[in-house]
């Protein structure tokens, strides 16, 4: 199971890198969002995908799965959400103020 997740992470990172290398604002932002999710998945895989009960008090069982990666991921998702939202607003503001929707036209505008 870990292997499949790791391969999936690799695919996601590949997509993210491709998007990040483009010049369009929206693609860069999507790339950053996808990269963050790839890393969240990796974090989950790194905790070990063992069989076990949910780490909750009401569950009966002797084996519990590791709860820490999930707590970490939750925090990281919140941060990724905030950052992505900020980037989207920023890109929109730049588009509205300068009409630029990619790095090239932003630079050109900047040099004047």
């Amino acid at each position: 199971m870990e292997t499949i997740i790791t391969v999936l992470v690799g695919v996601l990172v590949m997509v993210a890198v491709y998007l990040l290398l483009s010049r369009n604002f929206l693609r860069i932002i999507l790339g950053s969002a996808i990269l963050s999710h790839a890393i969240h998945l990796l974090l989950l895989a790194m905790g070990g995908l063992k069989e076990g009960n949910a780490p909750l008090i009401s569950e009966e069982g002797s084996v519990y799965s590791d709860a820490l990666p999930q707590a970490l991921i939750l925090t990281a998702i919140v941060i990724s959400f905030a950052v992505t939202a900020f980037l989207l607003v920023l890109a929109y503001r730049i588009y509205r103020d300068t009409g630029a929707d990619n790095l090239d036209s932003m630079r050109r505008d900047f040099d004047d």
Partner: protein, 141 residues
């Protein structure tokens, strides 16, 4: 062309209450079961978003005249101030205490200090999510 959104408006009126109830349920079950302030808050925020999408911003604002930035601020304040309470009693920061209380209607209920923290988280999430989406959408018009 005016878009016909009778179905959306009618469904929203009912569905919003279902979503809000589900949000509260998630929030309350958070201590021992899946749920909690964050997911509860997100569900509550999604109900508000549905309202904003169906009716326009002004109409909703008449019904819910809050500044959502302040709601987020209040949430963070609750979460921090709640975690600081143990410091007054010479306990470590973020120490949790819980107890059984006899409440009307609910009967014997276990309440924990964490409720305050989680309420803060929920309010923050609602405030921040709605603020972000309003900021993006407001100047489109």
């Amino acid at each position: 062309m005016k878009i016909n959104d009778v179905i959306l408006q009618t469904v929203t009126k009912i569905v919003v209450f279902i979503i809000l109830t589900f949000g509260v349920e998630l929030f309350i079950s958070g201590h021992h079961d899946p749920g909690g302030g964050f997911s509860g808050g997100l569900v509550l925020a999604s109900a508000l978003l549905l309202l904003y999408m169906t009716y326009d911003i002004e109409t909703v604002h008449k019904g819910i005249p809050f500044d959502f930035k302040k709601i987020a601020g209040l949430g963070v304040f609750l979460a921090i101030a709640g975690s600081m309470v143990p410091m007054l009693f010479n306990e470590m920061f973020l120490t949790q205490k819980k107890g059984e209380f006899q409440l009307p209607i609910f009967g014997a209920t276990e309440l924990s200090m964490e409720l305050l923290f989680e309420a803060g988280v929920a309010l923050t999430v609602v405030g921040v999510v709605v603020t972000i989406l309003l900021t993006i959408s407001e100047d489109v018009n």
